[in-house]
C-alpha cells in the first residue's frame, strides 16, 4: 500500500535525511503498486515532514530551502519603484540646496552650529544635511515606504498571492522589515554621498575641527560622518517599526502613511510640552540629536547608546504587534 496509509508509528520507513533526491528510497520502495505509474508517492498523511518528494518533478528539490530569494525580491519591490528613486533624489537634493544657498548668501551669514561651519569646510555639509533631514525629510520618506509595505500589498491583492505561494506570514514580515531597514540606510547614505560631492564642489575642504576642539584628518572626519549616517539610519528604525505595524492594520496605504506620520507628529508635540518632561526621555525622538556626539574626541557614547536602545525598544514592541496582527489576520482583500 502507499505510504499515505501507513500509520504514524511506522513512519520511520519514509523519514530520514533521504528526501534530497526525487527517487528517494523510502517512497519508491513503499509504493509497490505504482510500478507502472512511475510517479513516486508523497507520503503525507500523518505528516513526517521529510517525505515531501513530489511526483515526477526533478526540478523541485524537496530539501532545498531558498530563503534569500524572498528578501532579495522585497528589496526589488522597494527599489524597483520610481517612487523610491524620486524620494532618494529629493534627499540627495538637500545638501545641494543647502550648499547652494550658503554659497550664494556669502560666507559671513552668522549661522550657528554645523551650518555656520560649511562655508569654511565643505565637510560639514554632510553632517549639516543629515541633521537637517532628520526632523522631517527622512521621517516622511520612511513613513511612505513603511506605510506602503503591507497595506500596499493588501490593497493590490498581492498579499494573498504571497501567502499562498507560500511566503509564510512571519517570514514575509521579516523580509518587509529588512527591506525597510535597507531603505533607511540607503536614504542616509544618499545624503552622505551627495553632501560630500556638493561640499567638495562648492566649498574648500580640509582637516576637520571637532566639537571638542581637536583637529582630525579629512579621512577621519569622513569616517565619522559615515558613522553618523549609520546612526541616523538606525534612529529611523523605531519609526519604521511603527509604520510597519500601522501598515498591517489596514488595506489602504495612504491611511497607513497618514496614521504613521500622525503618530510621529504627536510624539513631536509631546516632546515639546515642558510639563510632561518626565516622559521625554522615553519618546522616540529624544535621542535623535545624539549623532553629533560622534564628532567629539573621544565620542560621547552614552547618549548614542541610549538612543539606540530606545529605537530597539520601539522597534521590538511594534514589530511584535505587527507580527501578532499579520499572523492572525484574515486576508479578505
Amino acid at each position: 500500500m502507499s505510504p499515505s496509509e501507513i500509520p504514524e508509528a511506522t513512519a520511520p520507513t519514509v523519514t530520514g535525511p533521504s528526501a534530497s533526491g526525487p527517487s528517494a528510497s523510502g517512497p519508491a520502495a513503499s509504493s509497490g503498486p505504482s510500478a507502472s505509474g512511475g510517479p513516486a508517492s508523497s507520503g503525507v498523511v500523518g505528516g513526517a515532514s521529510a517525505a515531501t518528494v513530489t511526483r515526477a518533478a526533478p526540478v523541485r528539490p524537496s530539501a532545498g530551502r531558498h530563503t534569500v530569494a524572498l528578501f532579495a525580491s522585497e528589496l526589488h519591490l522597494v527599489f524597483g519603484r520610481a517612487r523610491t528613486w524620486v524620494t532618494l533624489a529629493v534627499l540627495a537634493g538637500v545638501p545641494v540646496l543647502v550648499g547652494v544657498a550658503i554659497r550664494l548668501s556669502g560666507s559671513e551669514g552668522g549661522a550657528e552650529g554645523f551650518i555656520g561651519q560649511i562655508a569654511g569646510n565643505g565637510f560639514f555639509l554632510i553632517v549639516a544635511s543629515l541633521g537637517l533631514s532628520l526632523p522631517f525629510f527622512l521621517p516622511t520618506a520612511v513613513t511612505v515606504v513603511a506605510g506602503e509595505s503591507l497595506a500596499g500589498e493588501a490593497s493590490l491583492g498581492t498579499l494573498r498571492n504571497m501567502l499562498t505561494a507560500p511566503a509564510g506570514r512571519s517570514r514575509l514580515l521579516a523580509a518587509k522589515m529588512v527591506a525597510l531597514a535597507v531603505f533607511c540606510l540607503s536614504a542616509t547614505m544618499v545624503i552622505w554621498v551627495s553632501g560630500l560631492i556638493a561640499g567638495v564642489a562648492l566649498f574648500p575642504v580640509g582637516d576637520v575641527v571637532l566639537l571638542s576642539g581637536t583637529t582630525v584628518s579629512l579621512a577621519d572626519g569622513l569616517l565619522r560622518a559615515f558613522g553618523i549616517a549609520i546612526l541616523v539610519a538606525l534612529s529611523l528604525l523605531g519609526l519604521a517599526g511603527i509604520g510597519l505595524f500601522v501598515s498591517s492594520l489596514t488595506s489602504t496605504p495612504l491611511a497607513a502613511m497618514a496614521a504613521t506620520f500622525g503618530a510621529f507628529i504627536v510624539l513631536g508635540i509631546l516632546g515639546a510640552i515642558p510639563q510632561i518632561d518626565v516622559i521625554h526621555p522615553w519618546l522616540l525622538m529624544y535621542g535623535w540629536t545624539s549623532f553629533a556626539d560622534l564628532l567629539r574626541d573621544p565620542p560621547y557614547w552614552d547618549a548614542i547608546v541610549r538612543n539606540l536602545w530606545i529605537q530597539a525598544a520601539y522597534l521590538a514592541v511594534f514589530y511584535a504587534a505587527a507580527w501578532a496582527r499579520l499572523t492572525s489576520r484574515d486576508i479578505n482583500g
Binding site: 508523497s42 511526483r55 493590490l156 501567502l163
Partner: protein
C-alpha cells in the same frame, strides 16, 4: 488505486459521498482525497455566517466543480482551504495535511487563483511571476526564469511577458494569474472563477488547459457560477447555496437524477391528465393546454397510443430533458447568475 484504509482514520464520509467514478484519472500514490473539510464554518464579525458546516471531499484526479450563485460562500471557502482566513470552526485537510498548520509544506504543491487576478501593475508580467515564485522556499531559483517562460507560453502570454501588467487587459491578467499557478508542477489546483473576464476564445483555451492539467494527474478544484463550465468540464460537483453544500456528487449521478419528463400539448388537457395519471405517471401537472409528468419506465409509444385511444387530440408530444440549470434552481432556489 484501491480505495484503501486511508479513509479509516478519517470521519465517515457525509451523505453526499463522492466515490471516484470510473472516468476519474487517479494518479498512483497520491492522497486519495486531496481536499477534505469537516464542519467547516466561517462566521464573520458582523455575525453573518458565510460558510455553514460544510463537508467537502474532492477525489484525487477529479475536476471538481464548486458551484453556487455569487455570494453563496464559495470564495470564503476557498480562502479557508488555502489558509488565508481562519475558520470559526471545523477543519481543512489539503493533500492529507491539516491546514493552516502545514501550509508551508503543503502550499508549494498547490496552485491557487483566489478571487480574481492581483498583481504589481508597475511590473512586467514576467517580473510578477518571478516574485511570487521567489516567495516559495522550495522553488529552485536556477530554473525560475525558465519556468516563468514556460508558464507564460502555456497561457499564451509570451508576447506580453515584458509588458507592464498595468497595460494588460482583464483577460490577460486572468491568464497571468493562471500562469502563477503553473510555475511549478502542482498536485492540486484551486481555481476561483478561472474563466472570469475571458472572451469565448480565452474561455475555451483555459478549459482545454484545465483538461490537459487534469490529464497529467493534477486534481482541479474550480469554483464557478457558470453552468456551461460545469457541464463541459467537471467530473464532480458540489453545489453551494447560502453557505451550505446542498448537493455533492459525480456529474454522472447528478445528470442521471435529471429524468426526462413527458410533455403533451392538447386541446383536451383535463382528459389527458386523467388518462396519464391512470396510466401510472407520477407528478402529473396541467397548465393551460400543456400536461406533463414523469413517465418513469413506461414506454413512450404506448403512452401516445393510450392517449389517442382515450380521444385526446395531440398537438405536440415529446420528452423534455431538464438542464443542469433546472437541477440547480431546484437545489438552490435560484438561477446560476443570480446575485444574492
Amino acid at each position: 488505486m484501491t480505495p484503501g484504509t486511508a479513509g479509516a482514520d478519517r470521519p465517515a464520509p457525509g451523505a453526499g459521498s463522492t466515490d471516484g467514478s470510473s472516468s476519474v484519472n487517479l494518479a498512483a500514490g497520491a492522497v486519495e482525497l486531496p481536499v477534505i473539510t469537516r464542519g467547516l464554518t466561517k462566521r464573520f464579525r458582523s455575525g453573518q455566517v458565510a460558510v455553514d458546516e460544510i463537508d467537502l471531499e474532492v477525489p484525487a484526479g477529479s475536476i471538481f466543480g464548486f458551484l453556487g450563485p455569487n455570494g453563496s460562500g464559495k470564495t470564503t471557502t476557498i480562502r479557508m482551504l488555502l489558509g488565508l482566513i481562519t475558520p470559526t470552526s471545523g477543519s481543512v485537510q489539503l493533500l492529507g495535511e491539516p491546514m493552516p498548520k502545514a501550509q508551508l509544506s503543503v502550499l508549494p504543491r498547490v496552485g491557487a487563483l483566489v478571487e480574481g487576478p492581483a498583481f504589481y501593475p508597475f511590473w512586467t508580467g514576467q517580473a510578477n511571476l518571478l516574485r511570487f515564485d521567489a516567495a516559495d522556499r522550495t522553488a529552485d531559483p536556477r530554473t525560475r526564469k525558465l519556468r516563468a517562460g514556460e508558464a507564460l507560453e502555456r497561457v499564451g502570454l509570451s508576447n506580453a511577458a515584458g509588458k507592464k501588467v498595468r497595460a494588460y487587459s482583464l483577460g490577460m491578467r486572468q491568464r497571468l494569474a493562471i500562469a502563477v499557478a503553473l510555475m511549478q508542477r502542482r498536485d492540486l489546483l484551486v481555481l476561483d472563477e478561472p474563466t472570469n473576464g475571458l472572451d469565448p476564445q480565452g474561455t475555451r483555451e483555459v478549459r482545454s488547459l484545465i483538461r490537459e492539467l487534469s490529464g497529467d494527474g493534477t486534481t482541479i478544484f474550480t469554483s464557478t457560477h457558470l453552468r456551461a463550465e460545469v457541464e463541459q468540464l467537471c467530473t464532480h460537483a458540489a453545489v453551494m447555496s447560502r453557505g451550505r453544500i446542498v448537493r455533492q456528487s459525480t456529474m454522472a449521478d447528478l445528470r442521471s437524477e435529471l429524468r426526462p419528463r413527458l410533455v403533451v400539448r392538447t386541446p383536451d388537457p383535463q382528459q389527458a391528465e386523467k388518462t396519464l395519471t391512470g396510466l401510472g405517471l407520477t407528478g402529473v401537472r396541467r397548465e393551460g393546454d400543456m400536461v406533463e409528468g414523469d413517465p418513469g419506465e413506461l414506454p413512450i409509444d404506448k403512452l401516445a397510443a393510450a392517449l389517442v385511444a382515450a380521444d385526446v387530440r395531440i398537438h405536440a408530444f415529446g420528452l423534455q430533458h431538464p438542464s443542469l440549470e433546472d437541477a440547480f434552481v431546484a437545489l438552490t432556489g435560484e438561477g446560476f447568475d443570480v446575485a444574492e
